[in-house]
Subunit: 287 residues, 2 copies
């Protein structure tokens, strides 16, 4: 699996660089490039594996993989802003507003969102029907029904008097990180005009497992390992899966979710080996 992840990383890095380089030179383009640098490329990997599983060409899936990574990069840039999470470190580097400035970071995030939608209109992806259905699903996943909705719940939670319940924190995660992960996993099925339900099921379990593992790492990890500040949630008195379930409970829930994500892939048999490995990788590394 690691070899395949590395191959996808290299492919996406080259294609994303190319997409950004097609814009006029200057600070804005530099900031977009900076923001898209590095990262695990989990979402791109999900797109490429989902495409492979549904018999879709890599050339059709690659613009979609770039779109989800550009969108993810924009969301991190805006999330790190002083008015939001106020983070100065991301992927082991200064955040975009620290390296450039706040105005440039806001605009680079905005432009990355536009670029992501533009990438989904790429003719290489397939028929206009397929592209439009992808774009509609993407808009739902990232806007005020999906990712941005989850980010808003997260911001609201910080100023709330009462910590979130498990149901509330789950709803928050389903938006903030779950929606784009789900879109990424479904993308191959959308491209192949196949049933998206099994991949959605896989992704919902994976996304939640991933978030819980992240919360665990915020308690047990260090900055050299994670590339970002740790212990922030605890310091802010925010409810997390760890504060609600305890460390052992959170680990147990992660294992259950990974088993459920595994079960969702049954119909794909052995061909889904990489996606099963990915889910297991989440607990091995973090939990």
């Amino acid at each position: 699996m690691q070899q395949r992840i590395d191959a996808v990383k290299a492919q996406v890095a080259t294609a994303l660089d190319g997409a950004i380089a097609a814009h006029p030179a200057g600070e804005l383009r530099d900031a977009m490039h900076y923001a898209c640098n590095g990262g695990k490329r989990l979402r791109a990997y999900l797109v490429m594996e989902s495409a492979r599983l549904h018999g879709v060409d890599e050339s059709a899936a690659l613009p979609v993989a770039c779109a989800v990574e550009a969108l993810h990069a924009y969301s991190l840039v805006h999330d790190d802003l002083p008015a939001m999470d106020d983070d100065d470190l991301r992927r082991g580097q200064p955040t975009t507003h620290i390296r450039f400035n706040e105005a440039t970071a806001i605009l680079a995030g905005d432009a990355l969102q536009s670029m992501a939608f533009g990438l989904l209109s790429d003719a290489a992806i397939g028929s206009p029907e397929v592209r439009v259905s992808l774009i509609a699903a993407f808009a739902d996943a990232v806007g005020a029904r999906g990712m941005v909705y989850g980010q808003m719940l997260d911001i609201a939670a910080e100023s709330a008097d009462v910590p979130l319940t498990l149901a509330e924190i789950t709803r928050l995660q389903e938006g903030k990180t779950g929606a784009l992960i789900e879109f990424s996993a479904k993308a191959g099925a959308i491209l192949a005009r196949a049933d998206t339900a099994p991949m959605a099921d896989y992704a919902r379990n994976l996304g939640l497992a991933f978030q819980i593992a992240d919360d665990i790492l915020d308690v047990t990890g260090d900055e050299a390992e994670t590339g970002k500040r740790v212990g922030k949630d605890d310091a802010a008195g925010k409810a997390t899966f760890v504060s609600l379930l305890g460390l052992d409970g959170a680990r147990a829930m992660t294992r259950e979710l990974v088993a459920a994500s595994d079960a969702a892939l049954t119909r794909y048999g052995d061909r889904a080996g990489n996606l099963r490995d990915l889910a297991r990788f989440v607990i091995e590394r973090h939990a």
Copy 2:
């Protein structure tokens, strides 16, 4: 013309409210709604008139008109942020980050951009081919080649040692306000799969005339009339069309541009009367 503008305003207000209401209730949705309130709806009017001129149904054009207004609203919300132009008044009301808070304003802007792209995937607009070509043109108009690029040039100009030249300020305007105005004017031609060149020509002249009239109003207008702070450009020592051409020169250039926008509509004959009136309205009101 005024009657037709008022009709479009009402139509777009209802449709935009409906699109926003389809999202989960809460502060984010309230802020999106607040940000979309009011305004001249110039861009929506261009979309609807361009559609009428090309024999396109209102029902197909309306989601496009809503998309350009949602996008325009997002751009104003982000433009007004403290890290950008730091404005507290817009359309006679407190700006979104004043009325809500900065984080909510950033997220509402982000969500309005997603919503705009989602609206362009609406089946009412037409065939998937038409929708995808609209989306591709829209992404170009609003991203790091279009509007956001122009905003970045504007921000950069503020910290530059030397004021912008006329060529530079024109390039800035072509991005910051011109690109979305051009998209709006071309939309009807794209929907009808007709030649977009005449409408693009009309819009480039109109957009520039509109910006120069805005610069004139920043010098000659008052806040009650404009609904926003005036004299800011001058106070900031920013080059504007007025500072470069003088008040009389700026007025003369506006008249020339309006004549050129008129000439671009020749092939449409009398049916383009509303669009001609719109361009003349710009000088009558402002210059």
